[in-house]
């Protein structure tokens, strides 16, 4: 029911919806996701992709859209859907190229994929979880969403920006320690 109220409130004004995204309203992102789901996934499905690939591409595109909007790196000159659609197009084109390259490499049977990246990401994700919810949020908001200390303080209910700053500093130090404990530094950089 909450959704319905939200929907009618937002459908009227795309600008308002985009502003909500810029402010970090995840419900607005969910709303957009649902609204354009068929339109965007169809693009991939009709271009030799599976439904799963279509969903994956669309989600990636929305995450790109989210981050650009959040960090102020996106000035909309067209409709949101037009922008998201073009991101989907690019991502799917890249994925098709990657697949093509991969099948060529298989024939040469030479190159191995870089497995370190995903492995490292997994370890960092695990360490982040160990830090607890507040630290996790602070670091994600700070690095990915590029939120200001004021916004982080507001969003997570800290007394002021100094608290947010200190929190971020401590959380980051702790994360470094945890990651270092998992890896010797040289291994990590390899």
């Amino acid at each position: 029911m909450a959704y319905r109220v939200f929907k009618t409130g937002l459908e009227m004004n795309e600008k308002d919806l985009f502003e909500r995204i810029q402010k970090g309203d995840e419900k607005a992102l969910e709303f957009i996701y649902k609204k354009y789901y068929r339109m965007m996934t169809k693009l991939v499905i009709t271009n030799s992709g599976t439904e799963e690939e279509a969903r994956d591409v669309y989600q990636d595109a929305l995450v790109v859209f989210w981050q650009k909007a959040r960090t102020g790196n996106l000035v909309l000159t067209s409709k949101m859907s037009t922008y998201i659609y073009s991101v989907c197009q690019n991502l799917w084109r890249k994925e098709l190229d990657r697949k093509k390259r991969l099948s060529n490499e298989e024939k040469d049977s030479g190159e191995t994929m870089d497995m370190d990246g995903p492995e490292r990401e997994k370890i960092i994700a695990k360490c982040l979880d160990q830090l607890g919810e507040t630290c996790r949020k602070v670091l994600m908001f700070y690095y990915f969403d590029e939120m200001s200390m004021q916004d982080i303080a507001d969003k997570l209910g800290f007394a002021n920006t100094d608290t947010a700053k200190t929190k971020k500093y401590k959380c980051k130090q702790k994360l470094d320690e945890l990651v270092k404990a998992q890896y010797s530094e040289s291994d990590f950089l390899d």
Binding site: E30, Q59, D60, W66, R120
Partner: protein, 285 residues
């Protein structure tokens, strides 16, 4: 160290002004230890970003989007899908000899695998739509118009070549008299104990031609339906009581399908109230 840490962090978090950034990068070029520190931090920051992306994607994954691509949309689409699933089920049963009605649920996979399954079909010429139903628990079957036209023709021709395994259907006593078959039907419906066992019946639909606008025929163990069956949902009910009988449910009417009829027979709705009552009871189960 603290200063360095903050500077590196601001650099990686994109918080430096262009000038500051330039200055830092110059410093970086001449300091290998700083460079190493930046590389280490960069990887951690990338990991944090990645984790956030995964988190957002997981959040989106939990947003209901109105069903899968295959079933969303018009009812017609869903009905066609159901027909396709039924085909798959028929083939599945034939290949594995282990009918399992629980396989009706995952629409998407079944539709997706259909082309392969069809190729492996033991029926090179016909691609019948069939059903696998529990007795007195009818499953709706719907088919596509274009295919069925061809199917009927080929089905009729392929009698001597078709390697089709005959469905395990008990045949009722041959009789051409409607009154008698109605008796059989009624006996089956009224005395049926509703035992549940798997049964298979192949159903082929064809567009009505001038002669056969609403008819049926049993040929080579298959049921052929002539008429506008692509327009609306139809169901086949099989009742195994003391006698075996097959019924068609279409547009609120029930029709007896007499398996002893190998000629094309016109479909007449059942009017007998006692029988209708029983049929509705079974149908509703």
């Amino acid at each position: 160290m603290m200063n360095n840490f903050e500077l590196v962090d601001d650099y990686l978090a994109n918080r430096l002004s262009d000038l500051e950034k330039q200055a830092f990068e110059q410093q970086l070029n001449g300091d290998s230890s700083l460079k190493k520190q930046v590389e280490f931090q960069r990887k951690i920051v990338e990991g944090v970003k990645q984790a956030r992306m995964v988190e957002l994607k997981t959040m989106l994954n939990n947003v209901p989007v109105g069903g899968s691509m295959w079933t969303a949309g018009k009812l017609a689409t869903a009905l066609v899908s159901a027909g396709v699933v039924a085909t798959f089920m028929y083939l599945y049963v034939n290949n594995n000899q282990t009918p399992d009605t629980s396989d009706q649920n995952p629409l998407t996979e079944e539709v997706a695998t259909l082309p392969d399954a069809t190729n492996e079909s033991p029926l090179p010429e016909v691609q019948p739509i069939a059903k696998d139903s529990l007795i007195s628990d009818a499953v709706p079957v719907k088919e596509q118009e274009k295919k069925s036209k061809q199917q009927t023709k080929t089905a009729a021709k392929s009698e001597e070549t078709s390697p089709v395994r005959k469905p395990d259907i008990q045949v009722v006593d041959p009789s051409d008299e409607l009154s008698e078959t109605e008796d059989i039907a009624e006996t089956a419906a009224t005395t049926g104990r509703g035992e549940v066992s798997a049964s298979k019946m192949e159903v082929i639909t064809a567009n009505s031609d001038k002669k056969h606008t609403f008819h049926y025929q049993f040929a080579q163990g298959k049921l052929l339906l002539f008429g506008p069956f692509d327009k609306s949902l139809y169901e086949i009910l099989e009742i195994h009581g003391d006698t075996h009988a097959v019924f068609l449910f279409y547009k609120e009417n029930y029709y007896l399908l007499d398996q002893s009829k190998s000629t094309i027979t016109s479909l007449e709705p059942i009017r007998e109230s006692q029988l209708l009552k029983k049929l509705k009871e079974y149908h509703g189960r």
